[in-house]
């Protein structure tokens, strides 16, 4: 009974009014105006998509095509060899694997510790609760750059340089996720906790069997946003990894760019590498758009 399927609970639409607006369709609008709006929107989409299209086109060309003038804006036939070469040269398999581990670890870690602390703050009276709340709140004001050297030192002392723990654990504290869960728990009717207590369920049982199933929508939304955050983090992984095997893809990509004059500027391979690095997070947004928008808007407030 207290194990509703994911589909049943994941029901909160991100922005319900959008769906309404869509269903109403064009109404009380001159057809010409609608066409104009579509044209303008389509132009925006095209402008926004152009850099990616251009990167893709370059990634399919051979070097002689890349440097020709005027620039060739159509895909060529060298996609497979370019992607294979970029994959091999950058050690892409390992880079993508590392990024995936770090992104999932950051997302799952942040969500887990935030759920637990929000649960404690809402469902218990304990000495120091407001102190804990403020402690978590103040992390908002301590982004990585303001504590970078000492954090590096701490991670070094823990022996966590070049480890997945070092890459992910220091990024895990999250005020925004804690606030989101806290706010959500406050909207859960009191009767639920009362009923659980009358039935003899303990706190952990209540969290696991009642709150967790109710929280899937929030968890999914946060996961998408945090996965992208973890995947795209640059400063931290650059500092605490110095071996090829532990680089994440956002860092590793930079290796494809020639910094000396003697190397060939193989821009087709660089673009192929960029395409592979950006595809996973972009795919997550496209396929989980609803959760993404919800997570973005609710977790940042």
């Amino acid at each position: 009974m207290n194990d509703p399927s994911l589909g049943a609970t994941v029901r909160v639409p991100a922005l319900p009014r959008v769906a309404v607006a869509e269903r109403q369709g064009p109404r009380r609008r001159v057809p010409g105006g609608t066409v104009l709006v579509h044209a303008a929107l389509f132009a925006c989409v095209a402008v926004i998509a152009f850099p990616l299209y251009f990167a893709f086109v370059i990634s399919t060309q051979e070097l002689s095509e890349v440097i020709q003038k005027p620039p060739r804006l159509l895909p060529s036939s060298h996609a497979v060899e370019n992607y294979v070469e970029a994959w091999r040269r950058s050690g892409m398999a390992r880079l993508l694997f590392n990024s995936a581990i770090v992104a999932v670890a950051v997302a799952v870690g942040k969500i887990s510790i935030s759920m637990l602390s929000a649960f404690a703050i809402v469902y218990f009276r304990f000495r120091g609760a407001s102190f804990v709340f403020w402690l978590i709140f103040l992390t908002l004001m301590l982004p990585i750059p303001v504590r970078i050297l000492p954090t590096y030192e701490v991670v070094g002392n823990l022996g966590w340089l070049n480890t997945y723990a070092g890459l992910s654990v220091p990024l895990m504290a999250s005020a925004t996720a804690t606030f989101l869960f806290r706010q959500f728990y406050m909207t859960v009717p009191n009767e639920l906790a009362e009923a659980a207590q009358i039935d003899g369920a303990g706190a952990l049982r209540f969290l696991w069997s009642f709150l967790l199933p109710l929280s899937w929508a929030n968890i999914a939304a946060l996961f998408v946003v945090l996965f992208i955050y973890g995947w795209n983090e640059y400063f931290w992984p650059l500092l605490i990894t110095n071996t090829e095997e532990m680089r994440t893809v956002v860092i590793g990509l930079e290796r494809l760019i020639p910094r000396t004059g003697t190397e060939l500027p193989t821009w087709n391979l660089i673009m192929a590498g960029a395409m592979m690095a950006l595809l996973p997070p972009v795919a997550v947004i496209v396929f989980m758009q609803r959760w993404f928008v919800k997570g973005l808007i609710e977790s940042e407030k």
Binding site: I113, R147, A203, V250, I285
Partner: protein, 293 residues
């Protein structure tokens, strides 16, 4: 209303322990250490820290490169904020019409948010490439001006600003769309009945009603540009040409991890801490006010 609570004495401490541990070990202890280091001079080869008072800060005040990095940070953050917030508002207003395919448009406008600014920077690096890039090529038809970011600082700055704005735009569109949908249709319909033009509706109704969101986004984009833009600078321009794109976070990294001047780097961290505290307080002060609208 009193909330139902569970009676356990020790369980809540156990539940908050992981978050508190991470917070203290990786946030508060290092932040405190930054404060401490900022008033000491640490010999890079080892040995005892020497208390130097505010010397690290006064040294920064005499450092021309630091002034440049502060200026660069504001130019960069201002550019990213104006471009991506204003652009986001225009696109969101367009997309907020009663038309078919809104879901498609929203996805089609949102996806660049998934791209790391550093990766976006690498793509724009080629678009701006002095020899092979499409932008300098197009510019060559219009002007004889040498459109070369390796030589012209402002072009390098434009490159990183545009690349960062490209990734941030979708975020702002998502927020503006959510805000626009909160405007009651009756208000807009009343304006239509009164014969207000679309431009008038935009300036007289939409802009004032969503100003709280605009303000929120301005602060968030500024904070993002100040504190999360190391990647695009490091991957693309390395602060160059000269020091034209050397923003504060980049200088902090360069002085601390390349120059091994820990005291100066810590002092820069402390200054950035003041900046982020100021920005966050601004954001929360306004967040309270915005309930009234």
């Amino acid at each position: 209303m009193k909330r139902t609570v569970f009676p356990n004495r020790w369980l809540p401490y156990l539940l908050v322990a992981p978050q508190v541990a991470v917070t203290i070990v990786f946030f508060f202890w290092p932040a405190g250490k930054s404060l401490y280091l900022s008033v000491f001079k640490s010999p890079p080869v080892g040995g005892r820290d020497i208390f130097v008072g505010l010397d690290n800060f006064t040294a920064l005040l005499r450092d021309r490169e630091y002034y440049e990095s502060v200026l660069n940070s504001f130019v960069f953050a201002g550019g990213v904020t104006v471009l991506s917030v204003a652009g986001g508002l225009v696109v969101a207003v367009l997309a907020n019409q009663k038309i078919r395919g809104l879901g498609f448009y929203r996805t089609a406008l949102l996806w660049p948010y998934g791209i790391a600014p550093a990766v976006a920077g690498i793509i724009f690096l080629f678009i701006f490439h002095p020899a092979y890039g499409i932008l300098p090529y197009l510019a060559s038809f219009v002007t004889a001006y040498e459109f070369n970011w390796l030589l012209k600082g402002w072009i390098a700055m434009t490159l990183v600003v545009v690349a960062t704005s490209w990734t941030q735009l979708g975020y702002n569109i998502a927020f503006f769309l959510a805000g626009l949908q909160g405007i009651p249709t009756s208000v807009m319909e009343a304006a239509s009945v009164d014969g207000a033009s679309p431009v008038r509706k935009f300036t007289a109704i939409i802009v004032p009603l969503i100003s709280p969101i605009t303000f929120y986004l301005v602060v968030v984009n500024m904070v993002f540009a100040f504190f999360s833009s190391f990647g695009v600078i490091h991957a693309v321009t390395q602060g160059g040409p000269g020091n034209a794109t050397g923003i504060m976070v980049f200088k902090l990294w360069k002085d601390g991890f390349i120059g091994l001047n820990l005291g100066s780097s810590a002092a820069q961290s402390v200054i950035l801490m003041a900046v982020v505290i100021g920005m966050t307080m601004l954001q929360f002060r306004f967040a309270e006010k915005r309930v009234t609208y």
